[in-house]
């Protein structure tokens, strides 16, 4: 029988930015050979990007809230202390457990976490194997449960390399100027020795198993690149200002060296497998190698992870896999389902990932099972510990401390346990935050805030600020920001981004812009220019937003959202060809970027390329996102344009649409209530709760519906508005769900009259018109005019209030045509009460 073998190789933190130049110069020939006969792409990470969490997601196909590995450390079950994270923390079955249950044989080497080794068919060399003492005088025995089966211990024990075995010949290829290192003060070579020895141990074990065992699946994990990056990326070219020339010269080649050595180890593994073995090489996240490198790490938990980049790498080659093709939309959660599919096994419906169907030449049909975790049987698992004190993992803990992932543990055990528990809770909140599960995240963050024993609350407050901004609770965000400023946090945060987000959310875009503009001279950041561009775009300063997005692209040309921002700006500037160019660049960088496909579709539509516009909209629909509904409406519009003759500028089809929602809108006091009364008399079904009673200002009632007022927080009630008519004031129109079709009757009235009417209603002098208010209303009307053109699900007519009162027949006919429903026109006319038109134009002064 031809076995479908699969070799999964994990390179922690490997990043295309570094690999790209090494591939070009021919220095990663093994990876190049795989790419040439396989697929490659970006691997999207999860938040927070902490490696044990991420590699557990790779192994289980589940997000960390489900698999339970939430950090670098865990509290021992008997509460006797804290240790580096173990298999005990994982609540979900890994692919090798499932493969065991289904009769396959696996080798697992160095996976993080994999200690204690699980009793599966095959061999597990857990991540404890390679962690040894750097001191030649210290014994570092292989502890029980490090290797399964136990009898493999004898075969593997001599394959561990020790840091003190590293020689000059190993060091000099990385650091030709190593003679200039003062080894008393500079621990650079000490770190090097530990990292190299540990990774050589892993490599020795896996090469031995590849050579000598019978296997279906082998998974091996190397931390070489990640650990090199944490130690030496700050010295990588281009030289950072804070690095001395001497140190730069000594360490500048380290990163390239690590990738090249990693590639040499890959070459050896490829020699040891059959030609028809499927190979996957991947990383869990990337690593900053440009100006975002951090020289002074803040003292927060897992601070080094701040340098992890959102995209890692993915390369796969083997029978049935496409050749030399870039693939898109890959996530860590997708690896386990893809491995199961490779072996012809069902995917757990409770897994968060999908089979990476795009990598295969032929169409695939995955099968499913409800949950592998709920099935009974032998899955080759360890018995979870009830309590243990046999684990002594000082080497593993020491390594985490040296890398800066965890602080030195407090000698007071209780304190150490409390801190670990708090950090893990905080990490879980961050996982929820990454999933946009704000309710669960907020619960945990609030619990942490209420914890008196938690001394450093800065990171919790920062997440509360971020959460509040993402859930549009800007007043809460402001409060948390003030709390943070008052707190005694030891961490220095850059607060200008959240501050500007909050100001924007509170309707103060100019102040938000000022905050960002004040940073321009202090930092050369693509993110800063991007945000400035977004604000200018929102303010309709398209020339400025064009400049800002262009600056952002100059600094970071590979950010898809910067190109998307510029494309949107160019569209508004009617430079449709350039808008197409930048949308395409954006899509080239991130294929599954729905808003880039959407703006591409709109630009192509303007250029008259309807067929390709439709394709772009269809792609935007296919990738689930906020924009999909808009894209669906845009496709419907294209269909309509083909079926009936219509000028797009009309924004009306004058035809009835099933489930359409009729919206009456306008500035307050512009005749919206009158229109609602008329439509009700005409026979339309009105959505109102009559909670706001009639008064002298609106003697016939306001026709309001209370949930409209909080539409910015919850617009789910719009489902009940289908085929009905509801009043929504102008500033709230932008919160309409693009899922539905809207017919908006927008009441227009002279702004002076609107203001006079409003001032009269609240008992103010009507002879003066505040200039600010006048300008604000003017802007609102302008933005509605743009909004109607940018929302494919929206049709809109303007009904002039004065004309409606003066000659209602004509206006009613226009409305009837627009909604596409026969209305009782005679009843509608009876509702027009000329006495309502009492705030007729008067000579006003503008103050």
């Amino acid at each position: 029988m031809n076995r479908k073998k699969l070799l999964l190789i994990g390179w922690d933190a490997a990043d295309w930015k570094i690999i790209g130049s090494l591939l070009k110069s021919g220095h990663m020939p093994a990876l190049k050979s795989l790419i040439d006969r396989g697929v490659y792409g970006n691997m999207s990470t999860l938040n927070p990007p902490y490696s044990p969490m991420l590699w557990s997601t790779v192994a289980t196909g589940k997000t960390p809230d489900k698999h339970g590995v939430l950090g670098f450390v865990e509290v021992m079950p008997d509460m006797s202390g804290v240790r580096s994270v173990t298999t005990n923390s994982r609540k979900s079955r890994a692919v090798w457990n499932i493969l065991h249950n289904q009769g396959f044989t696996s080798n697992v080497v160095g996976w993080w976490p994999s200690y204690p080794a699980e009793p599966i068919n095959g061999v597990v060399v857990s991540d404890k194997f390679q962690k040894v003492s750097a001191d030649p005088k210290k014994q570092t025995p292989i502890e029980p449960s490090t290797i399964h089966p136990q009898n493999m211990k004898d075969e593997l024990k001599d394959l561990r390399m020790f840091p003190f075995e590293i020689t000059k010949e190993h060091i000099l290829p990385f650091f030709p100027l190593a003679n200039k290192i003062d080894q008393e003060k500079d621990k650079g070579l000490k770190s090097f020795s530990k990292i190299m020895a540990s990774n050589v141990s892993v490599h020795n074990a896996v090469t031995k198993l590849l050579r000598t065992t019978d296997w279906d699946f082998t998974a091996v994990y190397y931390d070489l690149i990640d650990h090199f990056c944490h130690s030496y990326m700050k010295f990588h070219p281009p030289k950072l200002d804070g690095i001395t020339s001497e140190l730069f010269e000594i360490y500048k080649d380290a990163i390239y060296g690590a990738y090249r050595f990693q590639d040499m180890m890959l070459a050896r593994k490829l020699e040891l497998i059959d030609a028809d073995t499927t190979v996957i090489v991947m990383s869990d996240h990337g690593f900053e190698s440009g100006y975002k490198r951090i020289l002074n790490m803040p003292s927060v938990q897992a601070a080094p992870a701040l340098e992890h980049r959102q995209f890692g790498i993915f390369v796969a080659a083997g029978p049935g896999i496409k050749k030399n093709e870039k693939v898109f939309g890959l996530g860590l959660v997708d690896i386990a389902p893809t491995i199961l599919h490779h072996f012809g096994l069902a995917i757990g419906k409770d897994m968060d990932g999908k089979v990476l169907s795009e990598i295969y030449k032929d169409r695939i049909t995955p099968t499913f099972v409800d949950s592998w975790d709920k099935l009974k049987g032998d899955f080759g698992e360890i018995e979870k510990e009830e309590g243990s004190s046999v684990l002594s993992d000082s080497e593993a803990m020491q390594q985490l401390i040296e890398l800066g992932y965890i602080d030195s543990l407090d000698e007071d055990k209780e304190k150490a346990i409390f801190k670990t528990q708090s950090d893990l809770k905080h990490n879980l909140a961050r996982v929820y935050l990454g999933q946009r599960n704000f309710i669960e995240a907020k619960k945990i963050l609030n619990d942490l805030m209420n914890e008196d024993k938690l001394e450093e609350k800065g990171p919790v407050l920062m997440d509360l600020i971020s959460l509040s901004i993402k859930s549009n609770e800007f007043l809460d965000a402001k409060r948390y920001l003030e709390d943070l400023k008052k707190s005694k946090t030891k961490v220095r945060y850059n607060l200008f981004f959240p501050e500007s987000d909050i100001l924007l959310g509170l309707g103060q875009p100019l102040k938000a812009l000022n905050i960002l503009e004040s940073q321009k001279s202090k930092r050369n950041s693509g993110e800063l220019w991007f945000r400035i561009g977004r604000l200018h775009y929102g303010l309709r300063n398209y020339d400025q937003s064009k400049e800002a997005f262009s600056r952002a692209i100059e600094i970071e040309p590979d950010k898809a959202q910067y190109h998307r921002g510029l494309a949107e700006t160019l569209f508004m500037l009617k430079d449709y060809e350039s808008a197409v160019d930048h949308s395409l660049t954006s899509i080239e960088l991130v294929k599954n970027f729905p808003s880039a496909h959407y703006i591409l579709g709109r630009s192509l539509e303007k250029l008259g390329d309807i067929e390709n516009a439709r394709l772009a909209f269809q792609t935007a629909v296919r990738i689930k996102s906020d924009i999909s509904e808009k894209a669906k409406r845009a496709i419907e519009n294209i269909e309509d344009k083909r079926n009936i003759s219509l000028k797009l500028s009309n924004k009306t089809t004058n035809k009835f649409i099933e489930n359409q929602i009729v919206i009456v809108s306008g500035l307050p006091r512009s005749g919206t209530s009158l229109m609602m009364q008329m439509l009700e008399s005409g026979g339309l079904d009105i959505l109102t709760d009559n909670k706001r009673e009639a008064d002298i200002s609106n003697p016939k009632g306001y026709y309001e519906f209370e949930p409209v007022m909080s539409i910015h927080k919850d617009n789910s009630w719009l489902a009940t508005a289908k085929s009905k008519t509801v009043k929504v004031v102008a500033p709230l129109l932008k919160y309409l769900d693009p899922k539905y079709r809207y017919k908006v009757i927008f009441m227009k009235r002279d702004i002076n009259e609107v203001i006079q009417s409003q001032r009269k209603m609240v008992g103010k002098n009507i002879d003066t018109v505040p200039l600010k208010l006048f300008n604000a209303f003017h802007n609102q009307l302008e933005s509605i005019d743009i909004w109607k053109d940018t929302e494919p699900g929206v049709e809109l007519i303007y009904v002039d209030y004065k004309s409606l009162v003066d000659s209602p027949e004509e206006a009613i006919k226009q409305v009837e045509n627009f909604v596409g429903i026969n209305l009782d026109k005679s009843q509608m006319i009876t509702r027009v009460d000329k006495s309502l038109y009492r705030n007729k134009p008067q000579q006003s002064s503008v103050d």
Binding site: P136, F162, E165, N204, R211, F261
Partner: protein, 42 residues
């Protein structure tokens, strides 16, 4: 360890034995043991 002077060594030649994995490592270790009798490798 003492490193006296700048030396340029290509990674491919100097680290080939480590990248090769278990087979050569065991031979390299055997040679090393001869020269480092004090080191206890368990």
């Amino acid at each position: 360890m003492a490193i006296e002077k700048k030396i340029d060594i290509p990674i491919e030649s100097s680290l080939g034995h480590l990248a090769y994995g278990d087979l050569i490592f065991e031979r390299w270790r055997a040679l090393k043991k001869k020269n480092n009798k004090d080191i206890n490798f368990e």
